[in-house]
Symmetry: D3
Subunit: 246 residues, 6 copies
């Protein structure tokens, strides 16, 4: 099974870290084919970055579809472009944010998301609402750690994330924690041991869900919300994205 | 007052029609400055078109901001890029879909949206949920009229839309109708007279709301969800969209 | 355009202040015709006052309708009698509470209401639920300033309201504030500058929304919830309110 | 135990019928003290009638409080003035609409309300939302029988109500029916036998709930939403309603 | 009228205390017939105990039905087995948790539940959601008093419960308190006097609601959710529970 | 990896069919260890059967835990005993109903459940609400095929299920179907091909989710809702279920 894991930001080092996290949990026989967006923001923090990451993301999805993959994972916790990718792809698509929410709902009555910056909170709240799992989430918290700080070994990022998890357990009665950034994938296990509650990494969750959908033989419904794009002209810099309706 | 009305698809004839509808309701002293996206899809029908319309939309917003405008209107019923535009702009931003829902909520207990194709229904349902007004909407209905058909005088588009409105009044107990496409702006008044309930055009509603916000002195909050994009590198085809944090 | 602004309490000084706030934002050509209720409570604080303000409010609406107006504004943050006024009037009706919620929803992901006394909180919560925008409101807070204190220049009312706004920004992550009393209309701009988030006055918002509805040609749907009252006998002190069904 | 049952419309024959229904289910030792509003509409059909029934209702509540009663029942299915009455009274207050919803929720997973005219549907929907039980209600249906028709033995009102109940059972999977008008109190038992599902009369339900609250020693909380009205001046025709804060 | 009150745990002393509380509020002519489960846990604290209390509960319900009773009360705040009991019984069934929520909703805009251990919070939250009244409940709080501690006169259980009620009034703006354990039935009145808000005991509430349903002639709908069990084979230790479909 | 699949009803032939469906999708290296309940109902249709299946289910869970398994699957679409099993087990537990809802939410905007008898609809609706995914489900439909009919090759069960799926696609705009009974596991693929939308079998979904949780290293949180049962006495027929708190 080939799973395409696309980092919708352009920071290759983050892709490598995420792909390693994915490979660490992938089943024997699963090949993780990673890709880094070639156009757009170096990190995704808020709605503007999100919007301009979409062409790069969709280009990567299209390229992977052409090369033949069994599933796609969008490796940004904001689930950037999830709906558009589902419309485009023949293979199923899983976002790491949504993956975290679904897995948390299977092992806890109530979970908290601990993300990077405050500005991501509204994006995540909107995604929880879209997924339907907002009632299962006690609260979305920010550790005020910037995405690229997670790449810096000298930062105290891990300690600040751990403190926020502590508050979630004490103040929110959170029974599980979802880590709200792909760049935190390597921290989940240790933080879980520290705090005595499951700490869920969306990347690992997404690999498991994508493998599961493929094994069960399920792909995105092409009736309704995710019908293939209609053939039509696209112009200017986006011309080569024009759907052919094929 | 200068209001920037941007059509996020690249079909100039539709921009002209929408701008005319906007000018027909604008207050004396309001200048409508229209723009047509220069890159992306010729019409927006579903999530994929939506995603790839964003760069063109945001480029138009940035250009209008630079030239000095008091408010922006996004003239696509899907409210394409509303959150990203709010992050980018200093001036307030109103989407024509959201404008329709808010005005409908002020004059009816319960309204129905009548849009173009079925594939737009899930997008609109998601937007209603995001706006918080989903409980006020009885149903989102499709007339199965394609966006570009609205430009074709020979089509029976208007009759099919009228029939769907009739069903909304009879079956949904809809007290008002929101027309679910910018291209329907010229039909509202006549359809309202035919069916005896208010028929709301999002374009006109958005002009009124944008004028209102400006007159009252309100603009998008820059604290939280719509904080300005952080300065960072963007690469590839999107490089010139990089925010400078200025 | 003539907009009828009715203060449903009987305190004329408050009407003057509110009408001044309305005129300050009204478009050129808009005439604000104010009225003060001639029967009922001197201020509206809680459900009992609310109920007994209705005859005075509806009498003023009927009188203004007879004299010819284009829209009505109910100038009490509790949106006293909004549904009944919509049934009675031919012209559209906007409540200042609802106006504040709708405008806040257009410029912020999440807002907080700061009102007068705690006893108003449940009324406002019920109104938010009715409007459908309760999910957009982080919290309704009371500054414990009584309505008539706002008329007393010697009181520290403004400082207490400002402190509560500070708490809303810090504790609720409120991106905008809606001031929860018509008597606070003159404070919005200064408080917004102090706290760095939009502070929304319902009176100004209602003027803008009423002007907008009129310009767009929309009035309350007369099908369903707001159908005109059926002709029937009314007795006793209320006899002259009997609808004639005309 | 003395229970004050107030008909907020001025039609004395309806009061008699409702009081008889109440007495038929009252426990031994319960005295039903009925009152008919002395000012306001002859029947309550929609928001305008509702608003103008409030002074008559509250006058009756005040008078009964003065004479000493243990509980109040508001005998209109719209739960006219429920919040205001709770603020005014020392004794607990039960609305017959709310009573029906609560009892239905105790004996069925899902119920339908069958009311008189379509125009009452939005009022009832709003009340269900306020009570919190809207998710338990499959649908609010109108039989298009006017309130005063129920008083006319020659009308086919009963047959039309029965047909609507049949549709509720077949189409809504309603497991119980709440009759949506005080004037239908005498029909419940026979309709339940016809349709094989419980048919709930709000009047009987309210008597049982009022008796229950009294026996258990519970009355409306005076902290928060239903705090007693503050002493203040009322003017004009409403002057004698001024609360003394006593 | 004979009301069967079943304690679904096996602690007879608790049954006695609950039955005494029930008798204290029962109407003249109501006979409380108590039963203690003869198989299962000594107290119910969490989902596992809940599940294994069901056979004992249902055996008691069946036995009481055979002996002829007019209603059943399930005397555990978790409303253990409420749905199954409603399917089995011909007489109406009331849970003491649900009874508390319904009565609280009739006398307060917003209530808080104060229960025993934290582990009961999710069970109660799930029950509030099922009842539909979750929006009326500000918060479910735990006093960290174990069920059997309530039987120990030397414990400081009462003081800890009282402190938690104080926090509910101050921090949640709770207008009423529902005591979240059958074993707290004797504390309600005194705690209400201490805190100045109604403190509601589910046992008393359930007696009142059961009496009310019986007097009004209502029993569980047998159409839909609570249809009688179909006749079928049961095996092993559960064989004698097999429904005969009679 | 060893996955314990427990059929909470006592019909061994159904267990075999379900286990075969599970093995058909299990990853290489996954061992499916099936168990059939040894006490309780032969099939689970409604709340009463559900309740009395719990001891048999929990006995099987305990036995499997003792023998060492990596995850449990509860193979009844009602998710019988899911919460209690999560409290009891150290290994993660997945219900086939919930598994179906989660997988449907990953591949469709909106799904419909097609189950056996009408009486299961309320149980499934309650489970959807508990899972938080009720907004994603358009409707729960019954094919009126009894569970044991699915075992009878001569019945027209499959045709009736297929007809109901057709109605779901046409009338509900369902983009995917979840088959609402473990006994339908063998029909999913063919029905999906017939109707052109994904048809989801909960058994296969649960296997995939259980494998995923195990591979990712996640198990049920033991903090909060699913804390291990406290040690206490159980009596009578249930005595041997007493938790030791170990």
């Amino acid at each position: 099974m080939r799973i395409h894991l696309v980092n919708p930001n352009t920071t290759r080092s983050m892709t490598e870290k995420i792909a390693a996290a994915a490979r660490a949990v992938a089943a024997p026989g699963t090949e993780i084919v990673e890709a880094t967006s070639t156009m757009g923001p170096a990190s995704i923090e808020g709605h503007y970055d999100d919007a301009l990451a979409l062409p790069g993301l969709l280009a990567a999805i299209a390229q992977a579809e052409a090369s033949g993959v069994d599933a796609h994972i969008i490796a940004c916790f904001d689930d950037t472009g999830l709906d558009a990718a589902r419309s485009l792809a023949r293979a199923p698509v899983v976002g790491i944010g949504e993956a975290g929410y679904h897995f948390a709902s299977l092992i806890a009555h109530r979970f908290t998301v601990v993300t990077t910056l405050s500005r991501s909170i509204p994006v995540i709240e909107a995604n929880l609402l879209r997924s339907g799992l907002e009632r299962r989430c006690a609260r979305v918290r920010a550790s005020e750690v910037a995405v690229l700080e997670l790449e810096d070994p000298a930062s105290d990022a891990r300690a600040r994330i751990s403190e926020e998890i502590g508050r979630a357990v004490r103040e929110d009665r959170a029974e599980a924690i979802v880590l709200g950034c792909a760049g935190m994938a390597d921290l989940a296990r240790a933080l879980g041991e520290t705090h005595g509650v499951p700490v869920i990494d969306g990347v690992a969750s997404a690999v498991a869900l994508a493998e599961g959908l493929v094994r069960v033989g399920l792909a995105t419904s092409k009736s309704g919300a995710y019908a293939p794009p209609r053939a039509k002209a696209y112009s200017g810099r986006m011309a080569d994205f024009a759907p052919t309706g094929g």
